[in-house]
Symmetry: C2
Subunit: 138 residues, 2 copies
């Protein structure tokens, strides 16, 4: 954030310096004021555009980062339980989750049951929506 402002500020300064150089030296002494205005208008319009995009992209990345938060630990959800939660969100059955995680269906049932109580849900579908509300799932 601060880095972006610094870099774009530097760029703006460089452009103004370029103007000084070009006006009083050999490069383009004959340019009219209107032309200069037009050039700088275009330049800074573009600059504003790019800056805005950069800032947005940064904000978006931050948002993605804090979607998966450390709230999982606060809820007392263990590593394995979270893995099961992710599998539930993809729409798999207990048997299918058991197969992908190489454990028995009984184990998955235990994990799911623990997840439901920790997420304060009564159904696996509700657990998924709760998890998204709590920003621990995409």
């Amino acid at each position: 954030m601060k880095g972006i402002i610094f870099r774009f500020g530097l760029l703006a300064f460089a452009l103004l310096a370029l103007f000084q150089l070009s006006k009083y030296t050999l490069i383009a002494p004959g340019f009219s004021d209107e032309l200069w205005i037009a050039i700088f208008a275009t330049l800074f319009l573009t600059l504003g555009f790019v800056m805005s995009r950069q800032l947005r992209k940064n904000a978006a990345n931050d948002a993605i980062d804090d979607i998966d938060s450390s709230r999982v630990e606060e809820l007392g959800i263990s590593q394995r339980e979270y893995e099961v939660l992710v599998q539930i969100a993809t729409g798999k059955s207990n048997k299918e989750i058991a197969d992908t995680l190489f454990v028995s269906e009984s184990t998955i049932k235990t994990h799911v049951s623990n997840l439901l109580s920790k997420l304060d849900a009564r159904r696996r579908t509700q657990a998924v929506t709760r998890a998204k509300e709590l920003r621990i799932l995409k």
Copy 2:
């Protein structure tokens, strides 16, 4: 989209016209070139910022609009079935959906069963993920 470009183009034109007026008339004939450049740089930097934001907002709205597409009809999903699908996605049970839609649980079961076959899913959780893949649910 075209409206935004038109409006901002008009705004840019107005600013340049303002420059012409102010330079050769009574308002501010004594301003130096550097000052003018600085003023226009700031103005157009802001303009670029605002334009970019407007365009982004528009794009976001478009994206939300085409998330709910007419693919629902292609799949032969009826109005009522879609309502049930939305309710499923919130994590409600058949009984809860029945209560909110003022029908019996049997009816909801029928709708859910039809939805599952139309969405090619075997569980309601899978139906939700399928629906999101098909962009008929947020």
